[in-house]
Amino acid sequence: MACHEASTSTKIKVKQQSITVGIIGNPNVGKSALFNKLTKGKAWVANWPGVTVEKKIGKINLGETSFEVVDLPGIYGLTAYSQDEIIARKFLIEERPEIVIQVVNAVNLERNLYLTIQLLEMNLKLIIALNMIDLAEKEGVEIDIHGLINELKIPIIPVVAIKEVGINQLLETMIEQIDRPTVSFKLDYGEEIEGAIEKISKIIDSFMGKLDLGIDSRWLAIRLLENDNDVVEQFRSRGLEEVIRESRRIKDELEARFNKSIEVLMIEKRYHYILSLSKKYIKRKPARESLTIFTNKLDRVLTHPIIGLMIFISVLYLLFKLSFDIVAPLTRLIEIFFSHYIYNLIKTSFLPDIISSLLADAILNGVGIVLIFIPNLLFLFLGISFLEDTGYLARAAFLFDKWMNKLGLSGRAVIPLLIGFGCNVPAIMSTRTLGTDRDRRLAVFMIPFMSCSARLPIYLLFTLAFFKENQIIVILSMYFIGVVIAIITAILFNNLLFKGQTVGYVMDMPPYLIPSAMNVFIKSWERVKSFLIRAGTIIVSLMVVIWVLSITGPEGYLGSEALSVPELLSRSWIASFSKLLEPLFKPFNWDWRIIASLMFGFIAKEVVISSLAVLYSAGEQGLPSVLLSSFTPLTAYSLMAFTLLYTPCMATAATIKTEIGLRYTLLIVSYQLIIAYTITYAILLIGGLII
């Protein structure tokens, strides 16, 4: 009796702890949709340890039990290629979640079952959520679920994640599974391979004392035979070189006998098993009204080399129109609210001058800059997420793959690059969808050269003053210079820094679907939130630094008026640095005021104009005439080019830092400064010869 009581009390203890549930599956099977339904959209985002990829976690409380559900990146199998895939794999192997839900696409179940087998081999407690069961029916796919349950001995729950069908049953199954033992699954690889697995397992067992992986030796043996680098590394780090050597020997021996790669042989064995399952439990009848047929018909048009391209350009135009023109009043409203209303409120308060300046000029200004991005970002991400969820983005990537290939990128990179013309921040954030880290970094290096909409006011001002007749041509030439430099950057870094790691482009083309509004909204809001929190803190801190450097100088505190009084500002640290840099810009004939304005331009490119206005003691209205008297057209043009190229703005730099790390951010900024200097020099040189 006492014993029984003890066991119940420990059980309650266990139940009070939260149970980790990993949600895994192939890409495009509706993982996120299921995650959103399970967690009712209440999830938070953290970072995976050591990397900048986001980890989505949600909590579900069911009576006494609470589950911590983790949304994992999509994978096809345990061989990891991109950072996303490595994370998913690591989570399964190292954190061993108590329960794993594999979301499976019922329409092409066989391909999904490959991952199922690998998960079963890991002895994970698996539940299959058989998603899109309604679509499968329409496609004429009949699945004998009971047969599959009997064969695999794991729960399989038919669900339609988007329509919330089967979610309750899935939750019930999760609770049931907590106390159930894990099913041991063993796929027969045939006599020879099984012999090798057994031999390696025995060797591993003899060292088990040193191994604290908590995974059974059969699985480790299988992974060693499959040349799993990560597992090999685990052995190496524990000083078990002997195991690696022995398993290599056994593997080589076997390969010599089969005259074939063992890895390939093992994958084939798994597929043979899947096909035997498919023969028994999956029937395909010709479908009358099928999504596949519809998708194929639509694809005839949308992936057409000419018509498809024209449609893509129209779609992109609409996206930009929507996310920049339509929200412009909203952006303006935020701007007025912050930089006029609240700003004046603080400035006219009874706070000491320095405090009100810190609050208004530094912090509020920084917050304002961050918030001004929200309407654009939200609408842009809503559009992108919508297109992504319909399946259209995969087609756009296909259309551009050939061209992007020439730059060492896959077709997917076209979306982030084009978004760069709108705003570099969302462009850099959307490089997350690119396959590998290499592609991602390469795209991030190119994006800052895409002339964003914030650079346009600078071009407008200068062309209005100096190139009234050829305004459009001069502005277009800026965009052209940016694109050419981006291409050169791609070619340069492709050959220097990111050489030879290209993985072939293999991309799922999901059927066309109408996206769920909830999914699109959650996805977009998450991205905006990530910018607000992560990049936002960096931006506000940088604003404070710039503020301090403007109101203080070598002689000490100058007073907050320094921000608007040129005489005071000329004694600030920023001015001192600019004067120090003057010799460097001697060949350009730029005085310190231009250099200082460019420094302020780091805040946001359009700030160059307002800074020039302050430093040249001209209002923004009067600036063109002041510039006309102190600039030549050539200096003006070179300054435009320099502004285009010289550095990503603060918000972009902060985003680059959160996306690919500080090291690369510093590299990008220095690289851009060198490029800007070189190109400006070249423009002045060539221009000087012509004129």
Partner: protein, 86 residues
Amino acid sequence: MGYDVGDKPLNVSPLSNIDEGKTVKIVKIVGGRGLIKRLYEIGLLPGAEIQVLRNSKHGPVIIRNNVSGTFSLGFGVAKKIMVEVM
């Protein structure tokens, strides 16, 4: 949808050369281990029958079959998949 391996193929060419609309059977993948594994994992392994939906012959291709669903493969990948016209 059978996955027979072994029969000597008669008419083998890279997937990148196949006309749109044709159905072919994968004979061999002549790439590195990484690519082979990736393609195998999505069900594109010797013996698999695939339908070529889109192929400009100098860019990416779109293929489909019941096991894998629809995929687009880069030109470089398509060149490495040796297929037999059915």
